[in-house]
């Protein structure tokens, strides 16, 4: 009746046949379990690895590219900044609080594995529409979990993004990004080096935790069909994580670690085999030494448990006492569970017997890869304007748009996050990008996460580029020059339909934009199969990007700072309503970005901000220029009067998206200098700041909202949608 074990574990017959070829004999059950997890998409990227090679990953300041737990760039002052984004989508759908919380914990340990001190977190979220009770539940609990973990470990959550769409009703997305700082010469790798050194497991005890292993351990051969032997949901323990951070950073600073690695998906199996294969050495682990939280755990269970808040370190024999002693001071378990060997094998013992003995590289480097089918979807055509109803009352339409949860203020979220801890937050959430001072320096680090998912659905090549360009624009708006990026590719099943093609196109579009910006991808993560029989998510390639500015205190805000300034539009690419926030779906054809032109706009705004010419800067994104101007006015309660003499239909003028535009304000005496700096970049004065209303003129038509009206709607929309 039942499937053969390898199929239950998710291995194909061909994959199963490959294992004996690699190890020279039939695998034991425990070994088969290890292969099944290490060769899963989650651990091996078998459907995405070939495509990921397209990304530009090099640059003069890259000190760690993809392949380690996180990437890193040199930022001067003898420091490197580490960055990485990761998904915890499935666990969050099962148990949103713990799933999202442990997602934060996991990404923090990736940064910690470099010996870097985590200094900022961001979260990128996608849920179904908030009129669904289930989506409200998932969203509010996920936000609570992210806050609980980040707040408790003392890493500020300084930004993120969220949107709500039916496409995410069955598969919500919870991506978390972490930034860390490490002395440039002291960065650690997860590369085991010296035979004879100890392998030390630090942190929480090992239990039957782990959703990733659920399918595995459900197999009758491995458990005893015993209710309480089932894998349990990972419960977050941020207090232990904080101690783990403090303790590991002290030990890293003291030079006590030769290598460091976090335990994430596939637990000890993945951590130890990656350390061994990267270092070209072997590892011999005694499972009887692993501190357990539960009695009677089978070897396979210990090997793949995904218990949280654990790190694995390579420690030279003469430093072992120091490591154990320091961990005791922090009330953490630290146990030498094995040694580095010369064999190249991953060996595990249990009850005196060898239960696993396979080449470590067979688990990691020999994982299969597959080319996904790249069957293009039909190219969509722009929606003719006469098929889009023109709003009768433009002011009312504008107000309605500002009150949608996707557009409205996200204060309800970020006030639940400690975005200040560490006393380095120079620009708080709510604007285009957060700015934090790199600790101990005056340098500003701007950070944002972005994704243009509807654009990616309609036109994946353009959408991939648009996603990267939007992130860069958000950095430019605060005055930072984009420096490096990390990405999390959230997609449906790439083996079906046009998803494989979309994945390839999105990567191509992202790469084109990254190359034009000269921004490398230094780390990333892939989450595939986000679909249900009813719904596929949009292709959602979340980009986390960091930028630098010499002086953290000189950042620019999105809000007008006083009356009498000029409102200036920089950039003037094509604008359309298709796939935008106003229409709220992915139909039609959004304008493909003119990458070179958009990069020129970004470059100009960075230079102008650095020269001190800008009073404010805010990009045109979801909802068009009408939303941009409303937000700029709202920030300090200063209105504006703007005319958009474009000859387009007024609703397209107001709500149309695209064009790579940034709206800045400047003192009148700076306009000439700004024009001169612009050279051939299109720049146009479109209005002036002042008053208490935001007034728009589009030829004959007009719209006007009072700043207080905007505030009421904009600030209350999300809380209202949640009650």
């Amino acid at each position: 009746m039942s499937q053969p074990l390898h199929r239950q574990l998710g291995l194909t017959d061909a994959e199963n046949d490959r294992i004996p070829e690699l190890i020279g004999r039939a695998p034991s059950d425990a070994e088969l379990v290890m292969f099944s997890l290490m060769w899963s998409e989650h651990c091996s990227y078998k459907h995405s690895r070939p495509l990921l090679r397209r990304f530009p990953t090099e640059g003069p300041h890259v000190v760690q590219g993809p392949g380690e737990n996180a990437g890193a760039i040199d930022v001067g002052d003898g420091l490197a900044i580490a960055l990485k984004i990761e998904s915890h989508n499935h666990p969050s759908a099962v148990e949103p609080f713990e799933g999202a919380a442990t997602g934060v914990g996991g990404i923090v340990r990736d940064i910690l594995a470099l010996g870097a001190r985590p200094i900022a977190l961001l979260d990128s979220l996608r849920f179904g529409r908030l009129d669904s009770a289930r989506s409200r539940h998932l969203f509010t609990r996920a936000v609570a979990g992210i806050g609980h973990y980040g707040n408790c470990i003392g890493v500020p959550t300084v930004g993120g993004e969220v949107s709500f769409d039916d496409r995410y009703e069955d598969s919500c997305l919870v991506n978390a990004m972490c930034i860390g700082v490490v002395p440039a010469g002291a960065m650690l790798k997860a590369q085991a080096r010296t035979p004879g050194n100890h392998l030390v497991l630090i942190g929480n005890r090992t239990g039957r935790d782990g959703i990733g292993g659920a399918s595995v351990l459900a197999s009758a051969e491995l458990s005893h069909d015993d209710e309480d032997k089932r894998p349990s949901v990972q419960v977050s323990d941020p207090f232990t994580e904080r101690k783990l951070m403090d303790c590991c950073l002290e030990l890293a600073a003291a030079g006590a670690f030769v290598a460091l690695q976090d335990l994430g998906a596939a637990g000890l199996t993945s951590a130890a085999s990656e350390m061994a294969s990267k270092g070209g050495v072997g590892i011999d682990v005694d499972l009887d030494l692993v501190p357990l939280r539960e009695q009677g755990m089978a070897p396979a269970e210990i090997l793949v448990s995904e218990s949280q808040e654990r790190m694995l370190a390579e420690v030279a024999p003469e430093r072992l006492d120091e490591v154990v002693e320091r961990c005791r001071r922090w009330e953490l378990d630290a146990t030498a569970i094995g040694v580095i060997t010369t064999t190249g094998n991953f060996t595990a013992r249990h009850g005196g017997a060898i239960v696993v003995d396979i080449p470590a590289a067979a688990l990691t480097d020999d994982a299969p890869t597959y080319a996904v089918p790249v069957d293009p979807a039909p190219t969509p055509a722009p929606t003719p304007l006469d098929r889009i109803p023109m709003p009768r009352d433009l002011s009312a339409a504008w107000m309605e748009l500002l009150g949608r949860p996707n557009v409205a203020s996200k204060r309800w979220i970020y006030e639940r996050y400690d975005h200040l801890v560490g006393a380095n937050t120079a620009r708080r959430p709510g604007g285009d990008a957060a700015v934090i001072r790199i600790p101990g320096t005056g340098t500003g680090l701007a950070i944002t996460t972005d994704c243009a998912e509807r654009h990616c659905e309609a036109d994946p090549l353009g959408g991939g580029a648009a996603t990267v360009l939007e992130a860069a624009r958000n950095l430019a708006c605060v005055g930072a020059r984009p420096a490096a990026a990390t990405d999390c590719l959230n997609f449906p099943n790439p083996e079906k339909g046009a998803t494989g093609w979309r994945l390839q196109q999105v990567i191509e579009g992202m790469s084109l934009a990254l190359e034009a910006l000269d921004v490398p991808i230094v780390s990333g993560n892939v989450s595939l199969y986000n679909e249900s029989p009813e719904r596929l998510i949009y292709p959602t390639p979340v980009v986390g990007m960091v930028g630098l500015m010499a002086d953290a205190s000189a950042s620019v805000g999105e809000g007008f700072t006083g009356p009498g300034d000029l409102v200036v539009q920089i950039g003037s690419g094509p604008v359309r309503l298709d796939a935008g926030e106003w229409l709220g779906d992915a139909t039609g054809a959004p304008p493909a970005p003119d990458i070179a032109a958009e990069v020129a706009v970004i470059d100009l705004v960075v230079r102008a901000a650095t020269a001190g010419l800008l009073q404010s800067a805010h990009d045109v994104s979801g909802g068009g220029i009408a939303v941009t101007l409303a937000e700029s006015a709202l920030a300090h309660g200063i209105g504006c009067e703007v005319s958009l003499p474009t000859g387009r239909r007024p609703d397209e003028d107001m709500f149309g998206e695209g064009g790579g535009r940034i709206i800045v304000s400047c003192h009148p005496e700076h306009l000439d200098q700004l024009r001169e700096m612009a050279g051939t970049v299109p720049i146009a004065q479109i209005g002036t700041t002042g008053g208490r209303t935001v007034t728009l003129r589009m030829g004959e038509a007009g719209a006007e909202l009072h700043v207080e009206q905007i505030r009421d709607t904009f600030e209350s929309a999300l809380p209202k949608a949640l009650t």
Binding site: V94, E95, G207, D209, V235, S236, D237, T240, S307
Partner: protein, 79 residues
């Protein structure tokens, strides 16, 4: 009105960080011989209606407990 006491405890095998921390604190305060410590919630409800126990059970399922990580128990304490 019937008084109902609902007890919600972390499930067997599920990590209980709070119990773990309190265990350590008791030991540091010099209390010897402390074995397992587990911490959960006690919810006291006053309920009207003909079948308060069944109502409480439904409340646990829908709100008061998280079946993935918690077990609940219901005691009717009288009226």
């Amino acid at each position: 009105m019937t008084r109902i006491v609902v007890t919600v405890m972390p499930r067997e095998g599920v990590l209980d960080p709070q119990g773990q921390t309190v265990h350590g604190a008791l030991e540091r305060l010099g209390f010897d011989g402390v074995g397992d410590v587990r911490i959960g919630r006690r919810i006291e409800l006053e309920l009207e209606g003909s079948n308060p126990e069944e109502a409480a059970r439904e409340m646990c399922r829908r709100l008061l407990a998280n079946p993935l990580i918690e077990d609940f128990d219901i005691q009717v304490e009288g009226t």
